[in-house]
């Protein structure tokens, strides 16, 4: 049975497989424990919410968006630090996100060094 270190798991949620895989690979190379999901819905039913130390999610996804995920985590009283990957033009979404949960923003394409620094900060929050 898989065991995950309490609250140190990093979860990647992105509907685009290449992005999901690239981000996961980068995080694993840095020694982090990673689980990747193709949708927010899949993550929410995974049973991993309470062991997740940081979520990285695309703000724009079919089905539940990154913003919806943030609101759902808040509703479930899981104030998990969340890194939302956004694009220029998402200004109003970013404002909504800052009111919906504990969040930080990164731009696409994601810079590896910035991402790792952000994840490390999230895990210490």
């Amino acid at each position: 049975m898989e065991t995950v270190q309490q609250e140190n798991l990093v979860v990647v949620v992105d509907d685009e497989e290449p992005v999901r895989e690239a981000v996961s690979r980068l995080l694993r190379a840095a020694g982090l424990t990673v689980r990747a999901f193709a949708s927010a819905e899949d993550f929410l039913i995974s049973g991993l919410l309470n062991t997740t130390g940081c979520v990285i999610a695309d703000i724009r996804m079919p089905g539940m968006s990154g913003l919806d995920l943030l609101a759902e985590l808040d509703a479930r009283h899981c104030p998990t630090p969340t890194i939302l990957i956004t694009a220029h033009g998402d200004e109003s979404l970013r404002m909504q996100a800052m009111r919906a949960g504990v969040v930080k923003f990164l731009a696409k394409p994601v810079d590896g060094e910035t991402l790792l620094a952000s994840v490390q900060a999230a895990l210490q929050t």
């Binding site: 009283h77 956004t86 970013r94 800052m98 930080k104 900060a121 210490q124």
Partner: protein, 367 residues
């Protein structure tokens, strides 16, 4: 709504802000956020005004996050936290040997913030002698490091903040008027917490979640009396004070119940400013011990349904004689709350009575 960097990374306050959240939906907050939305997408300098602890840095961060610079650095400097002699070097950097002790080249905050946002907190503390150089970089986006003749060109958006009356400082010649006008392009005033009391319950819940998670505590219940006390307190230290008191309450919590960490009888927010200052000074001396004692007693009373004596009473839980506990309760002004919520909120606003004036009514165990 920090500094204290360790060698290994940013301090807790910094990390908290990096993953920041804006909590509340009071009209005062909505008006503020509308201004943030309006100005964020521009390149204009913003002057954030507000009392200490109102969240000036959080709003600066929000402006950066909503702006097109959101994927660029957000660099901050608290001008009041840096010795005057070092402030110029912090802002603009220096070359090796520029002054005694300059053993290596240093990059200043303006360079670090290139293409991003620089947040200058407590900008009113910048000494007069340094203000022309700041004015120049704001107007021309150019500066030289200390000890260098080479001009650096940067692209920095400035957000400045202060709790001081800059206009008054200008009138007293303590702050340059030309710099003031350059900073005051788009002023944003943050409301004090006492003017957005509707947001207090949501803020309390938010901080409970954060601290309970961090301390691995399970807080399941916030008594109505505790929330009423939070909601009626004057909060001179604003959200930072609320955050600190929730942290204290989470530490003191037992059996999943959040105790009231406020002083025995908090000052009603209708007191005159002078009286508030006097009470604050008195409270700052008395608060820690009294608060802790009161919280422990309230905790024990809550757990025993206000039973004082007997084998299931609070006195035994606290390791005190029944009479000693009653004495301590009188001294701290602890009375059994009326079940009626109106009475509780009124009682919480009453000033602390001298022990001699207290009656023992309501102190006895129902047993």
């Amino acid at each position: 709504m920090g500094g204290l960097d360790k060698i290994t990374g940013p301090a807790q306050d910094d990390r908290d802000l990096e993953f920041s959240r804006i909590v509340g939906n009071s009209p005062a907050l909505e008006s503020l956020l509308e201004l943030v939305r309006l100005v964020a997408t521009t390149e204009s300098t913003v002057l954030v005004l507000g009392e200490t602890g109102t969240g000036k840095e959080l709003i600066a961060h929000a402006i950066h996050n909503v702006s097109p610079r959101y994927d660029r650095p957000f660099v901050k400097l608290n001008c009041a936290a840096i010795p005057t002699d070092l402030l110029e070097s912090e802002l603009f950097g220096h070359e090796k040997g520029a002054f005694t002790g300059a053993i290596a080249q240093k990059i200043g905050r303006f360079e670090l913030a290139d293409k991003g946002t620089l947040f200058l907190d407590e900008v009113g503390d910048i000494p007069l002698a340094l203000q022309p150089k700041l004015l120049r970089v704001l107007q021309e986006q150019q500066f030289e490091r200390l000890g260098s003749g080479r001009t650096h060109q940067v692209n920095v958006r400035l957000i400045a903040a202060t709790h001081r009356d800059l206009e008054g400082m200008v009138a007293r010649n303590e702050f340059r008027s030309d710099l003031y006008y350059r900073l005051n392009v788009f002023p944003v005033s943050l409301p004090p917490l006492r003017e957005r009391r509707e947001d207090i319950p949501a803020l309390v819940e938010h901080f409970i979640e954060i601290f309970a998670r961090r301390m691995r505590r399970d807080i399941r219940h916030v008594p109505a009396e505790t929330m009423a006390a939070f909601s009626s307190y004057s909060w001179p230290g604003n959200i930072r004070e609320l955050q600190n008191l929730v942290e204290r309450a989470v530490i003191l919590a037992r059996d999943g119940v959040l105790p009231n960490p406020l002083p025995t009888a908090v000052a009603p927010h209708t007191l005159s400013p002078a009286t508030e200052i006097l009470l604050r000074e008195r409270d700052s001396l008395l608060m820690t011990l009294q608060d802790s004692e009161r919280a422990l007693i309230l905790q024990a009373l809550g757990a025993t349904d206000w039973r004082i004596g007997g084998p299931k009473g609070a006195a035994l839980k606290l390791g005190l004689n029944r009479t000693t506990l009653i004495y301590r309760m009188k001294k701290l002004g602890i009375e059994r709350p009326c079940r009626c919520s109106d009475c509780a909120s009124v009682r919480d606003r009453l000033p602390q009575a001298a022990p001699d004036n207290l009656t023992t009514a309501g102190l006895q165990s129902p047993a």
